[in-house]
Amino acid sequence: MVQPYFHSVTLETENCKGCTICIKRCPTEAIRVRNGKAKILELRCIDCGECIRTCPNHAKRAIADDFSLLSKYKYTVALPAPSFYAQFSGQDMSISRILQGLLQLGFNAVFEVAEAAEHVSLAISRYIENSSIRPLISSACPAIVRLIQVRFPELVDHLVPVHAPVDIAARLAKEMVMRKLGLKREEIGAFFITPCPAKVTAIKQPIGFQESWVDGAIPITTVYARMLKVLPYAEETPGLQQASSVGVHWGRATGEERAVKVPRRLAVDGIHSVIEVLEEIEVGKFHDIDFIECQACRGGCVGGPLTVQNAFRSWVNIEELTRNLPCEINPGIADEVDKRWEEGFYSLEGEIEPRSILKLDDDLSKAIEKIELLEKTVKFLPGLDCGSCGSPSCQALAEDIVQGLASEGDCVFVLRDGVQSLAEELLELARQVPGSISNQETTDKRTPSEDGRED
């Protein structure tokens, strides 16, 4: 890929103390500390936001859009993620009121991503029925799609090539507005209320298709404070709320897996747990499972780095908000999916390409040389994985050394040994001076009385 990567996750240099907490938690080893500051490696970063979550100094930030973007469009539609609902609770709280609140914030219309999630659930089921690959893996979480591209490139074929709910929501919403109000596509702005930076990246730089129908992603954290002001005045509005409990449950882990009607399914959340499962799939296990929901965040989207509420609390909120909703997807949606599946409405147009970050060299024989050097280097390093060198582990430092991005002296233990032997050598040399050097340079410095020139 020639184009530079857009990344939502960025570093706030002033706040970074150069500690090594983030480098250890990063699932793709995409961060190094160099010159006392963290540095994100563009090719490796998957925008999962794990570093935003773990940085104690708030030196990682998500770049996203804000409300100022709304003024660029004639007509605006809010696309609230199901996880957005989960931020709110209380006796009189309802999804209808939350949607009304969004209208009061200045959006002309709302379209529930939860409703699009129901379309996607049915589309995924259709795809699984027609595929012989097992297990199939959901592509709804953009951090997971990128994780698989860079760290599990052998598994890209296992990803279900169906659009994520937010993309379907944007298309359905815009089509509706174009039809009803006679507006042009570019006059309508569709804004996702996002729980995570990976979605921001996915909208700006989609994988598997050219251009997103979503025009911006505004973090839940940005919308939340404004919502608190308007919610007390937001009333129940009939007709606004459309999605069933099935779609809303996509906001938390297991929601998607339960919505996809295939016999053997599993759900895994938390990126490090996802990695464990993917490693098993890589060696041929889990082939008896039809579908796997993988969520980078613990608890699912409600655990996203751009949410406000505690993820566990959000689980309860979703239960409460969906208590009075229908438990089944509206049959009308099933008819629509049947119709539009054939047109390819739900399918990704392009491929999800593997792009391994592990390859040491394009040339096989050079790669072999590097592996041999790598093994030697790993043996040479202490194996403590302390991170003081700025690389996440001794293995990672060895890879950096082999790639010319670091040197052995970056290891404090190697450096200490080096200093020690240098000191010993120095001492040894110092001892040798009187005996070995008998020329003028030395003798000049001596007092005449000590000078026993004998030649």
Partner: protein, 150 residues
């Protein structure tokens, strides 16, 4: 079968596999997979090599008294040689049938021994050879070509 080893190997690695060590089981296959990824080989080839190595490793863990997996990377292929000392396989043809297993109840309760090991290796391989001597052990040679069809 050590004599059939390709002398033209670009690189070779050897992994020792301990019998009944379910804590470490799978580590050799994982290491091999990472190595092949570092070499930048084709993802589909890596996948097949990883599956074959994993199943072979599990067979050594489950059935043998211990063994080794040696891997040669040649310009044309990945050659995986597995050697173990152990009870051997009395009826190889049967062992190659899907679902046939001699694993104990205990092993099956751990989720292994589904009788898919050898068939999966065979499916992943471009060339596959197996020799076994009852009471002595089993040798396996798996070839996976870099540029292969199925």
């Amino acid at each position: 079968m050590p004599d059939v080893r390709d002398v033209g190997a670009l690189m070779s690695v050897t992994y020792d596999i301990a019998a009944r060590d379910f804590v470490r089981a799978g580590e050799a296959a994982n290491k091999l997979k990472r190595l092949l990824q570092q070499l930048g080989l084709d993802p589909a080839v890596i996948r097949r090599a990883a599956i074959a190595a994993y199943e072979a490793e599990m067979n050594i863990v489950i059935h043998s008294y211990g063994g080794q997996i040696k891997v040669d990377i040649t310009p044309e292929s990945i050659e995986i040689f597995c050697e173990d000392s152990g009870p051997g396989i009395p009826d190889i043809e049967k062992a190659l049938q899907e679902g046939y297993s001699t694993a104990s109840e205990e092993i099956r309760e751990m989720g292994f021994g589904a009788g898919m090991g050898l068939p999966n290796i065979q499916k992943s391989a471009d060339k596959f050879r197996i020799e076994s001597a009852v009471g002595r052990g089993t040798c396996l040679q798996v070839t996976i070509l870099h540029e292969a069809g199925e």
